[in-house]
């Protein structure tokens, strides 16, 4: 399965590559991480079969987060996201990824 979440703290990671993308894996799962210039961190956990989720994370940031959360006057900046529309679109997008599938 795939879990998607935004987190504030991430001290354990080494400095990311210049483009802000990093991915590490354990024997059980792989974690993909994208950091935007504005300091927002996106985390995607997948199982080991997935190579790079950079485009997916980039799409989520540019097309979903910026459009539906940043531009939503009723979503205060840096607060937990309450917008149902954002959740629906995010859910639909993740489900459409080629590597999404039931266990």
């Amino acid at each position: 399965g795939i879990l998607l979440k935004f987190r504030e703290f991430f001290g354990l990671l080494n400095a990311p590559r210049r483009d802000g993308f990093v991915s590490f894996h354990t024997s059980k799962y792989r974690l993909h991480y994208l950091e935007t210039p504005s300091g927002l961190r996106l985390v995607l956990n997948t199982d080991l079969g997935v190579g790079s989720a950079r485009e997916a994370l980039q799409h989520i940031y540019s097309n979903l987060f910026v459009e539906l959360v940043v531009k939503n006057p009723l979503c205060p900046p840096r607060a937990p996201v309450q917008s149902l529309l954002f959740r629906q679109r995010l859910d639909a997008f993740v489900r459409s990824l080629p590597y999404f599938g039931p266990r």
Binding site: E67, L68, K71, N72, P73, L74, S83, L84, L85, Q88
Partner: protein
């Protein structure tokens, strides 16, 4: 593209700023809506002058309403009004199924109670535009399911 985001963000902050100021003072909600509507009115007056400087005179009221629905709406919101209805007795209903200032908010019922705040400026915009074209009117808006909304224009006979 950038200017669309600029207007959207500026408009959001206008609404938020006015309501914040109202909370600190003693103004209630009704006054904020009126202020937003008046701002829209003044902007609408100016905009319509600019947009119609090269167009021919309008034949009648219906022609003016069609202009608002097509050219005016397209220039401000990058799309046309989806549906225009009238009872031919001075009442027009303009329906926009994907109103640009609401699409980012929700699709459905979430945040519905906040929607009117984001429509006040646009009501004024329509009223101001019509006013400078010689039509006195009252414009109200209603939303039942985002991002679709209806603007109702009631022409006042002088």
């Amino acid at each position: 593209m950038a200017d669309e985001a600029l207007f959207l963000l500026l408009h959001s902050e206008m609404v938020a700023g006015l309501y914040r100021a109202a909370e600190q003072g003693e103004g209630e909600n009704g006054r904020c809506t009126t202020k937003l509507e008046s701002m829209g009115f003044r902007v609408g007056q100016g905009l319509i002058e600019r947009f119609t400087k090269d167009t021919a005179r309008f034949k009648d009221e219906l022609d003016i309403m069609k202009f608002i629905c097509k050219d005016f709406w397209t220039t401000v919101f990058k799309k046309q009004i989806d549906n225009l209805r009238t009872n031919h007795q001075g009442i027009y209903v303009l329906q926009d199924n994907k109103f640009r200032l609401l699409t980012q908010m929700s699709s459905g019922k979430q945040y519905l109670e906040h929607a009117p705040k984001y429509l006040a400026f646009t009501c004024g915009l329509i009223r101001g535009g019509l006013s400078n074209l010689g039509i006195k009117s009252i414009v109200t808006a209603e939303v039942s399911s985002m991002p679709a909304c209806k603007f109702q224009v009631m022409i006042q006979k002088m």
